[in-house]
């Protein structure tokens, strides 16, 4: 089994799985109907991408596990989602800030993956990139709109940025798996995406009249599974419950 490739697909698929779950928690509770639609649409795209990434992971692993088996039958320490996507929704501002910080990274990552030497990865990236371009346009627009809105919306967005920025760095940390994949031309080194990300973030936050925290210290432990947040266990308890409670059933 190509262990590095397998891990990479899990990292991509677990991010979209957990973020899709978080976003779907909003169903029926958004500030306006248009946002209910947009949030459901975003969650739907993310779950669709999860099916592709985890489907490919299962194929690479070759042990008969499909996307559902990987999504619903792994425990927290086997998950490879970054800590950012595990963070609670908070208010609408925090949800959209989390979305923007993720979308901006995902857009850069997918653009690079379109050139992947592994054709199955390039194919997923091509499909997902179109969806993510829309997610980014919307989350960025909302961050700018609320940052540069009323005094209250500005304060809430600044608080959301301060709260979430310490989870950004993990998206750009390199490890042995990343190095191996970069050498084979399969995926970019995460750190190589950081300059473009920083430039985009600086521009967005300036437009949103928000200040990026100076401290670039970052939490980590999600993408290698070494130390997830406490939230992940609860997310999985909810998400996996039916499959776990009725293991002999098909749905």
């Amino acid at each position: 089994m190509d262990k590095a490739l397998f891990e990479f697909c899990l990292r991509m698929g677990d991010n979209t799985l957990i973020l899709g779950h978080r976003v779907s928690e909003w169903c029926g509770h958004a500030p306006v109907v248009e946002e209910d639609i947009a949030l459901a649409n975003t969650a739907l795209d993310l779950i669709g991408q999860t099916q592709l990434w985890l489907g490919l992971a299962g194929e690479i692993e070759g042990k008969g596990r499909d996307a559902d088996a990987l999504a619903f039958r792994r425990d927290a320490w086997e998950m490879r989602s970054v800590l950012l996507v595990e963070q609670p929704n908070g208010d609408f501002g925090q949800t959209l800030m989390r979305q923007y910080l993720f979308d901006q990274w995902q857009a850069l990552m997918l653009a690079a993956l379109e050139e992947s030497a592994e054709p199955r990865i390039a194919a997923i990236a091509r499909k997902a990139r179109k969806e993510v371009a829309y997610h980014l346009e919307r989350s960025r627009g909302t961050v700018v709109g609320l940052g540069d809105g009323t005094e209250e919306s500005h304060a809430r967005m600044q608080a959301a940025l301060d709260r979430l920025y310490p989870y950004v760095g993990e998206l750009f940390s390199d490890d042995a798996i990343d190095s191996a994949l970069a050498e084979r031309g399969i995926a970019p080194l995460p750190s190589s995406l950081r300059p473009d990300y920083d430039a985009a973030l600086a521009e967005t936050m300036a437009e949103a009249t928000l200040s990026l925290p100076e401290n670039r210290w970052s939490h980590s432990g999600g993408r290698d599974g070494s130390r997830h947040s406490e939230h992940l266990g609860h997310i999985l308890a909810e998400m996996q419950w039916l499959q776990r409670a009725y293991p002999d059933a098909t749905w």
Binding site: S24, C27, V33, L146, G149, Y246
Partner: protein, 329 residues
């Protein structure tokens, strides 16, 4: 459709002699099958009845996200999760274009929302019942969307243009919703012992509430008579309920499930199923706010509205700033 007991003028339908010349011309257009458009003259009663009916339908779509949203995070497979998300997204979309249709009658969406939250406008009684197992998501699609379609299909021919066009769009999506619900039921009914129990239990709990969706018998209602004369309503509640029962019983049989009505049987003479009426006392209690989930549903919508105020204000303020900046340039 999700409108129940929509009040009209409360008066008997006027005869041609009692009508003003304008009213007569209006009625002639309706009788000729013409569509009434927002800028056309219309009787005040027609406008008000339509606002009530369309808004009730819109509110139902929006509140209806909640019982299904209750299972999105627990959907058992990625595909089921995706389908449910797509369905709930459709429903919010239906709410949106129904609100837009209502707005063409001179009422704002914010006003309609406030009236939902202060209890002066209703949404369908069905959404005040809880979704307790995954089979309930199947039952909601199969029975609730099934009952809604029964009502909506004839309303594609309703006299008010924007409403009719909204219905045509909605009907296309609803039939997909019903099929996905039935597909869940099929999987459950043919599944393990526990799944079969969930499926039967869901049918037991949703059967009568689904029958209530059509509203109590309105064969003697002046409100319905007026709405029918205006082609805002096409069939009586009893006609639609009967049609729904006739359609659903064979589907339940195919699933191998039992409809919770010992007196249900096919009547050779009428060619229809005889069935037990739902408990109308329960229905009136639910409609007046005492159903199992009324308080939670309204609370959830109220919280969404109140917690979202800063977002709406923020985005509005930003739009104004931008407009001012581009005007200054």
């Amino acid at each position: 459709m999700y409108a129940q007991m929509v009040k009209s003028t409360g008066e008997a339908v006027k005869s041609r002699e009692e009508m003003t010349p304008e009213e007569r011309r209006f009625q002639d257009r309706i009788d000729a099958g013409e569509k009434i458009e927002p800028k056309d003259w219309m009787p005040e009663g027609y406008r008000k009845t339509l606002i009530r009916q369309i808004a009730q339908h819109a509110h139902s779509e929006v509140v209806g996200q909640l019982p299904e949203g209750n299972w999105i995070t627990r959907a058992p497979t990625l595909e089921r999760k995706a389908i449910l998300l797509a369905k709930v997204q459709d429903e919010a979309g239906h709410g949106l274009y129904l609100y837009c249709a209502a707005e063409t009658l001179g009422v704002s969406r914010d006003e309609l929302t406030e009236r939902l939250l202060d209890g002066s406008m209703k949404y369908s009684s069905i959404f005040n019942y809880p979704t307790l197992t995954w089979a309930d998501i199947g039952a909601v699609g199969w029975l609730v969307d099934g009952a809604a379609i029964m009502n909506q299909v004839p309303l594609q021919r309703t006299s008010f243009g924007p409403y009719s066009r909204a219905m045509i769009r909605i009907c296309k999506e609803e039939s997909f919703h019903q099929r996905q619900g039935y597909d869940i039921m099929l999987k459950m009914a043919r599944g393990t012992e526990a799944q079969r129990r969930m499926a039967q239990d869901a049918l037991n709990r949703f059967w009568y509430p689904a029958l209530m969706m059509f509203g109590p018998s309105d064969k003697d209602s002046v409100h319905s008579a007026q709405s029918m004369a205006w082609k805002i309503k096409i069939n009586t509640n009893d006609e639609l309920r009967q049609k729904f029962v006739d359609q659903t019983v064979p589907q339940a049989e195919y699933l191998g499930l039992t409809i919770p009505d010992p007196d249900l049987k096919f009547n050779e003479e009428t060619g229809h199923y005889d069935f037990t009426q739902p408990d109308w006392e329960e229905f009136f209690q639910v409609v007046s706010g005492n159903g199992p989930c009324n308080a939670e549903r309204l609370e959830a919508r109220r919280r969404a509205w109140e917690d979202g105020a800063w977002v709406r204000e923020g985005l509005l303020a930003h739009a104004e700033k931008r407009a001012a900046r581009s005007a200054a340039e």
